[in-house]
Amino acid sequence: MTFLEILGIWFATAMTLFILSFLYKDNPFYKLAENIFVGVTLGYSVVGAIWKTIYPEWVVPLFSSDVGIWRKGFLLIPGVLGILALARIIPKLNWLSRPAFAFVMGWGAGVAIPTAVDAFVLKHTSKTVSAILPGGEFTFGAVFTAFSNLLIVVIVLCVLVYFFFSIEHRGPIRVASRLGVLFLMVAFGIAYGNTVMGRMALLYNRFFELKQNASGESYFATPILVLVTVLGLIVHEVWIKPRPPGTEDVQLEKPPEGAST
């Protein structure tokens, strides 16, 4: 392995351990990893915005001879709107950014309406009512399927009743909405249990990586760094005097004016 590869393994291992150290408590290692993380991802989005969007999608077509004058004209619009959005930096020119936001919000709102109708209302309604009775023979399985399909309809209706805002939940409506809440709880329980394994697999993958990086080839990155982290935590705990509670690292560069009444 090259030096850079080994360095990479050490760095990655350290970052993994530092993040995990947060589970014990907040500490300087975590803060270090956290700030590296934020810095790196900020840089990544800048690079992405410039090299993956602005340059290929905007600059290149704007200066390319392949693109007609009309399309170039159109391309100027998002550029201008984008630059206008930056006017927010200057408080007095703040209002210049409004057309950009209006465009973005209007566009989002417009696209959302038919999507909501088709992808949510129609799709879910049609799936709910499409197969109440299975065709074919009259067996236990068929009866059970019919029961399940009917149950789906009942649950959908009850949960929808729960969402009524402008009617008082009394009488039969109260019963239905109460049932709706219970059905929601059942669904949430199922969904919760269903995701646990996936989350455990994520952790397993991290531990797997740590084990791989423990070998002599990576110069025992994992054990050494585990030792360093643990010792560091002990040192931090024992020798570095904890500040009085409350003041610890709270960024109070200004007095919180909003808090004073």
Partner: protein, 231 residues
């Protein structure tokens, strides 16, 4: 106040109305308009990113300047940010080395940072969920009410049914009675009937909320995004 208030509202109305209709208009201009404007959106957002960067730099620069608590970490943040941007510029935003070009290790220096800093940090942060999913269950899965009992009961059933150990235990005992009692069939039924139907109802409700909110924006009833609803 035309430019400050009326124009933005006209823009929102025009764009919103046009793109709500676009879905039903199949001719090529309409299709092209949709694909072009979705690109516009990412271009505007990319420019706007600078706004965020300026805000971050300002706040951390202030910390460093005043040497307030933890200003060293702000330096770290700057360093990480600057190296990512520089490496990214050197390698034109490519994490992988194009074939035939010599890079540091099977990739660019940008790729090195991406693979050895971003990926492990992201995956580890994501992996901490494994711990939280357990502690949240321990803390909150208590049969205080009937609803809470249902939540915890079905979560436990799923936990049992998704573990390979649970599947074996069940299928070798109760599952032997009848094929339809096998655990994966039960799990499938729970997911497909009880879970899915409640989610459907949620999504139908959400759709109506979305339509209502969209309409409010298009008609200018909802204009908090312009700063307040007055005037």
């Amino acid at each position: 106040m035309f430019v400050k208030r009326t124009l933005p509202m006209l823009v929102a109305f025009g764009v919103g109305f046009a793109f709500a209709l676009q879905y039903y208009l199949p001719f090529s201009f309409s299709e092209d308009a949709l694909s072009a404007t979705s690109k516009w959106y990412s271009i505007i957002a990319s420019f706007a990113l600078l706004l965020g960067i300026v805000s971050v730099i300002q706040s951390h620069a202030r910390k460093i300047q005043t040497q307030s608590v933890g200003w060293g970490y702000s330096l770290v943040l700057f360093f990480a940010f600057a190296s990512m941007v520089m490496m990214g510029a050197f390698s034109a935003g490519n994490a992988e080395t194009p074939p035939g070009v010599k890079g540091p290790i099977y990739g660019t220096s940008y790729g090195w940072l991406y693979n050895n800093a971003m990926i492990p940090l992201q995956t580890t942060m994501f992996a901490t969920l494994a711990f939280y999913v357990a502690s949240a269950a321990f803390r909150a899965f208590r049969a205080k009410t009937f609803g809470a009992f249902l939540l915890l009961f079905f979560a436990v059933v799923m936990l049992f049914g998704k573990a390979s150990l649970g599947v074996t235990l069940w299928d070798e005992s109760i599952g032997t009675i009848h094929a339809s009692l096998q655990l994966d069939r039960i799990i499938e039924w729970l997911m497909g009937t009880l879970n899915m139907s409640a989610r459907r109802a949620i999504l139908i409700g959400v759709a109506l909320g979305m339509i209502a909110t969209s309409l409010k924006i298009i008609f200018g009833i909802e204009r908090t995004y312009l700063g307040g609803k007055g005037e």
